[in-house]
Amino acid sequence: MNPLAPIVASSIVGLVVLVSFDPVSVSVALVCEVLTLPWLRLPAQRMWPIVGIVGVSAVLGAMGTALYGRPSGETLFAWGPINVTTGSLDLAVLVGLRIVAIALPGALVFAATNLTSLADALTQIARLPSRFVAGALSSLRMMSLLADDWRTMGYARRARGLASRSPQQFAGQSFALFVRAVRRGSALATTMEARGFGGNNERSWARVSVWRTRDGLIVAGGFVIAALVVGISVGTGSWQVVVFG
């Protein structure tokens, strides 16, 4: 499977859900998404944390809407600016479901993607500039090193007698981490440059990224789901487009 295929497919579905604003389309999209997720073959222990994070954001989003959303229907509870009505509750459920339907597929697809193959696909198939893609790839790998640096700097500040937990200390350490990141980055850039990266010469790709029929079918699957979402929603007469402003 080419890593671009599920990304494109999930973006198509996500876009339709983003545009629509009714319970039927978001439900159809969610059902289709849950049914197709096993194809990602993402191990459960990596999937659940993501589901958890998306779930919590959805609940938070829904709560905000329930408490402060545009009041309509019967008032259930009112206190100061808080006004919970049957209308705002309906809206809250819809907002929560939309967050899940839009964020979950993207997050899971990204987690299931090998970054190196994604970079290969982006340069060879999507034809993005290789300097940009390889640079982004190597900087992502550096994130875990920065986490270690942050911890070590915390030790250092304490060892030097500086460790109070004040905002200034935090700012100081953040700046130190920034300096450190720049320095690590330039060291890595030297390594890459010494191996010929960044010149204007022609480049080859050791791993050939191929786009097979199957990948086309996956993208087609994205369109089919999008069509189902719109079709069923329009067919049941509940289709509504999100109104901005």
Binding site: Y155, G161, L162, R183, A187, R195, G196
Partner: protein, 473 residues
Amino acid sequence: MSVPVGVDARNWRWQFSGRAQPALHDLSFTIAPGERVLLTGPSGCGKSTLLMALAGVLGADQGSDEGLLLVNDGAPDAGRRLTGLVLQDPETQVIMERVGDDVAFGCENFAVLPEETWRRVSAALESVGLMGDGLSVSLDTLTGVLSGGQKQRLALAGVIAFEPGLLLLDEPTANLDPQGVIDVVAAVTRVVNETGCTLVVIDHNPAPWQELLTRVVALDVSGGLASESSVYPHVTRAHVAPTRDPGDVVMSTVNLAVGRPGQPVISVPDLTLRAGTITALTGINGSGKSTLSLTLGGLLPPQSGEIIVGASLGHGLRARHVPSPHLWPARALVRRIGSVFQSPENQFVQPTVRSEVGLGLRVTGVDHHEAADRVQSRLSLMGLADLASAHPFTLSGGQKRRLALISAAVTQPGLVVIDEPTFGQDDNSWVDVVTLLDELARAGSAVVVTTHDPDLLAVVDDIVALSPRVPSS
């Protein structure tokens, strides 16, 4: 197959932007194709800068040059494909997530066709002794799980895969344990013998390279040429005889197990650290030396077991803080325990060398004039007085380590814990560092060092060997 490449320098000079003095000047020398050269000189003299210049990665944005520096009769940056550079820090030399992709990276940049690339990747990984019969590394192995020594050999493989004619190694063994050093030197030897390429290597401990090298190019302290010789110098270090008097127990441990967040717990032998002594912790990379150092230094909580703080070290602490140093407030800690980390850059928190050294004195409220005097004497002792206004990050590797050492020791704490104090030191600064350790001990501190350095081990009072063990309970 690579064709060996020569170097020709004629009155070459390099000056970093914003520096008053040139980093390198009046350099005239030639290296014939196929020669194997040790580049040497005092800590901070510009060895690494010269190597970067040869690799063609010193940009016009970093400074300016005069004279001629030729690699294979051309400009170094035009000949990047001819030179392969391996640096000191294993972490900043890993580019890709998987071993095979990492080695292929250079070949891709030089537009080697895929089939040929993969043939070379396998051959390179076999040459450096990472892949082959009985070895566990494959093309799909994640680069993150490799040890420091394996990462350095990976970097070497990534360089030789595009078949350079000049191999440039900047202290490739500095961060490695003894087995890692042996493996890397063996890999370089095999590669150089197989390909016949020219070799320029910087190493503060040149002994392991002795068999391979044919010549020495030495720089002097100002970045000029000191001498060229075809005879390899025999290095001896002036040893400080350990005739110190052990005092009271400053700290001891019972059944201690240490660990970092998210990593396995390691149990360590019981320690008794006495005032006036130097204790060395040895063991392979990953045996827990650094983790134990951080724990003794009050920066990590013990995982199990006990740290017993001696009466002199614990004097003046609140009773509830005494049991373990990780409970101490930072200001109480800096008075009592000095810590120097493996990577000194991580511990610098001030914009100048002078304020870095003075920090411990400022936070503990030492009189301003006295503090300035103490800072000045420490800087002179370590040969850093001229750099007092420089930013710590701009120092060389060996200078940074000395700065970290005096910054931690300036408050004369009862316990000083130092991770690898002699990394990156030349013979002179090695003596400075060991002299300071000795002075600290004689002034009544208990000194703990982690080290692989046999010369340092010869002058300590006690050696504790760590081996990776799981706690019995």
